[in-house]
Symmetry: C2
């Protein structure tokens, strides 16, 4: 079956891995995309793998690796080590794909609890360090059968979270490596505004790079915590019909993950969230995917 729904656990942050797995199974879904801290809380990746498998679910992605942009070598070594651990965890839970949020500028590192040269705002240099970090991790990821999945983030997060800002840029970085080792994720929240989106999704399909399609809406006004401006599909300003058509036309047929950071949704009962996201997915996203999907071979 194509286009099956997956819950990213960022949508239900109040739940443990076991609780999230149970909620997903109870909602009749078969896929989950966990965050790393849930694996740790569950007793490690092997225990997490059992919890996921025993419920009959599969892990679509692991969130997340990345933060490869520090300019200091000790921080850089630490980041690479953390990414190698994430790669091993992804392999252990059977997630073929590790989502990479690549990191921001040294000038903004303190905002996420890190440190860096407050005067270093060079996004050109930070991008070069990101590409080097990815290159350094590719062989290790390949050995473990895990694909690094580059996530372009909305430019409002370019300073503090990810200097990777467009799908085209992600494909340029990925293009240095084989398609089976480095892919990209199309997350509607992050890329809906991009005037090159249609052509870059088509390119991502041609180059065999679309590893994941993630859907959520872009709400306005922007939340006071800007990270939490993600909304339930249909509540904001994303044209899901068009973007979903492009993704299906590009040949993607895999799971579709829902990741919503939003005060209200994150606080509500998970069953309600799963019910709403399933309904909205069926109404706003799935029909466009199905209409554009290539017909199966006879």
């Amino acid at each position: 079956m194509s286009f099956e729904l997956s819950l990213n656990t960022g949508t239900t942050p109040q739940l443990s891995l076991r609780e999230a797995v149970e909620a997903v199974a109870a909602a009749g879904l078969e896929h989950i995309g966990p965050w790393r801290h849930l694996l740790a809380d569950a007793g490690g990746a092997e225990a997490a793998a059992r919890i996921i498998a025993e419920a009959g679910l599969s892990a679509t992605t692991l969130c997340r690796g990345g933060f490869l942009t520090p300019s200091e070598s000790a921080q850089r070594a630490e980041a690479l080590e953390s990414n190698r651990a994430a790669i091993r965890e992804a392999a252990t839970i059977g997630a073929d794909e590790l989502i990479m949020v690549v990191g921001g500028l040294p000038s903004a590192a303190h905002l996420l609890g890190g440190s860096g040269d407050r005067s270093d705002t060079s996004i050109v240099d930070a991008r070069a360090r990101m590409a080097e970090g990815i290159a350094e991790l590719v062989p290790y990821a390949a050995e473990h059968g895990v694909r690094l999945v580059l996530e372009p983030l909305h430019p409002m997060y370019a300073a503090d979270r990810a200097v990777l800002s467009t799908l085209g840029e992600a494909l340029d970085v990925a293009g240095e490596h084989p398609a089976e080792t480095v892919g990209v994720v199309v997350d509607t929240f992050h890329v809906w505004w991009d005037p090159q989106l249609g052509e870059q999704i088509a390119r991502a399909g041609r180059e065999g790079r679309i590893a994941s399609y993630q859907v959520c809406d872009f709400n306005l006004p922007i939340a006071s915590d800007a990270l939490k401006s993600r909304g339930m599909m249909g509540d904001g300003h994303v044209d899901f019909a068009t973007i979903s058509r492009w993704v299906a036309e590009a040949g993607y047929t895999g799971p579709v993950e829902v990741e919503i950071f939003n005060e209200e949704i994150n606080a509500q009962d998970a069953a309600t969230t799963l019910e709403t996201m399933t309904a909205r997915y069926g109404e706003l996203v799935l029909p466009a995917l199905q209409a554009a999907a290539p017909a199966p071979a006879p």
Copy 2:
């Protein structure tokens, strides 16, 4: 003289046009970029022109035209009429350049006091309407000796304010018209994150389209009113040295305008703001512009 500083009156919203003109002259500057409502408050464009001229200043730009994306024909006609009035006003005050903030999606029009189909999130269609609107205004602007200056806005404003999100997209739209009738503005706040920025600034220079260079910083965290996240140069995460170098290498030698929407700066004494912006400009922007500027002919 090249690279002279200009105050955009959005930086000093508490001042009338006369007060702003006096503050600019007292600070030893010679240029001002007024917003339209100040012209109206001063008794109209002719009265405003006298106020500016009597102080020995020149108007660099007029803010702003645009909002060309409504899907309903009555709203569209109204928007075009308002833009024609803005063109006449720009000509009257001697501003060769009318800054265009092109407008957002129908789904978000209500957020700025307008109306539109709340379910219409098609940014593809809105962009097509924007390009049509520009094309419709070009002959009128040309008759009045005014250049329409397309302003790509940060993608965080793509839904409510401007579906024009990158310099490359602005140049594509501008490219349908002669360079003397449609230009672009490079505003550091809006474009600093763009991975194509260097090449697109160079292209803008080659194509003769850089009509204005505007500087202010990108602050984090994003302000609760996202419009007011603009910061004084040096307070945020923009790499002014690199962007200024690109702008000067592209051949731009005109005025540099400072436009900062920021609760704290907007509330403080205008003389303090002008003093700080002059100092920061001299420290962070001007040296990079001067170092990269082509040497004057012997």
